[in-house]
């Protein structure tokens, strides 16, 4: 299977939410074989289908004052936060062309994050029943997906920078009292997200055994 990479840079969640659905339609109709969207989000809190309102620890007005948007969306899972310090990957894959196994796909997304971290000498762990990737008791990567007609959207976020980790204090991530960590925290040095994108793309290729579409030019298309 081939896939096309879209690097959107730092964008509003709502814009990419719509963009995902457009790409989803292209994959559904076969116009695109598969796609991987990479981006970072301006501060946003999203509520998955199993989110309980009490897991937002502050009034919505306070979020507005802080310039944090909030959306209830169709992905699985509870509440989470996204900000510019995370690298986000939205794979729009047709599982009909891979394997029609929802949990296998979740485990493969965890594997992408674990292998990505392992290149930095970091041992990312899974805990049974707690989808995501952890460094000891702290969470570094979060996963929440939606599948329609066996085509996936939403996806994986990995905490890279320290800057906005504090915003996780506004919520009970995944409905639990979880402490979050980041690649910068674990390594104790600054990391530039732009330098990590190719690493992440490579992990998707290795785990899902897929090839990047080559247009004759770079297939890393930047769309604003």
């Amino acid at each position: 299977m081939e896939f096309k990479v879209f690097d959107l840079g730092l964008v509003n969640f709502a814009k990419v939410w719509l963009w995902q659905k457009e790409i989803f339609e292209e994959v559904k109709t076969g116009l695109l074989p598969a796609a991987l969207i990479l981006c970072q989000h301006y501060p946003v809190i999203t509520l998955g289908r199993s989110a309980a309102k009490e897991n937002l620890k502050v009034p919505e007005a306070e979020l507005r004052n802080k310039g944090i948007q909030i959306y209830a969306i169709e992905r699985g899972g509870d509440i989470t936060y996204h900000g510019p310090g995370q690298i986000i990957a939205y794979p729009i894959f047709n599982l009909g062309h891979l394997k029609k196994d929802i949990h296998l796909f979740l485990r493969q997304l965890e594997e992408v994050a674990i292998d990505f971290l392992s290149d930095f000498g970091i041992h990312g762990k899974r805990y049974s029943g707690l989808t995501g990737v952890w460094i000891d008791k702290q969470k570094i990567a979060s996963i929440g997906i939606a599948i329609r007609h066996w085509i996936t959207f939403h996806g994986l976020s990995i905490n890279i920078k320290n800057d906005d980790l504090d915003n996780f204090d506004l919520i009970r991530p995944c409905g639990m009292d979880i402490e979050m960590t980041s690649l910068e925290t674990v390594l104790g040095k600054n990391m530039a997200i732009d330098n990590l994108k190719e690493n992440l793309i490579r992990k998707f290729k290795e785990i899902f055994l897929i090839q990047e579409v080559c247009d004759g030019q770079s297939s890393l298309t930047r769309i604003r």
């Binding site: 998955g48 699985g76 949990h103 929440g144 997906i145």
Partner: protein
């Protein structure tokens, strides 16, 4: 009458939770319309309607857990 049954969703997945019905009992549906959304682990997925007709009976409602192979609803063709 067409049956809406929870299909195989992958190895080791024996149940899912109904998260959203797109139609109410008595409403007309087309074949392949998204009928119901379910959740398992950190994923949601949709079941399409197997036939065109009227959604005659819903057996599992939002928040209910359904086992693979169980009857979720019936469509009167």
């Amino acid at each position: 009458m067409a049956k809406v049954v929870l299909p195989e969703l992958g190895e080791g997945i024996d149940k899912a939770t109904v998260s959203y019905w797109y139609f109410k009992e008595g409403e007309k549906v087309n074949e392949k319309d998204d009928l119901v959304e379910l959740a398992t682990d950190k994923a949601t997925f949709n079941l399409p309607s197997p036939a065109a007709g009227t959604l005659s009976e819903i057996f599992f409602h939002e928040g209910d857990t359904v086992n693979v192979g169980e009857l979720l609803a019936t469509i009167e063709e």
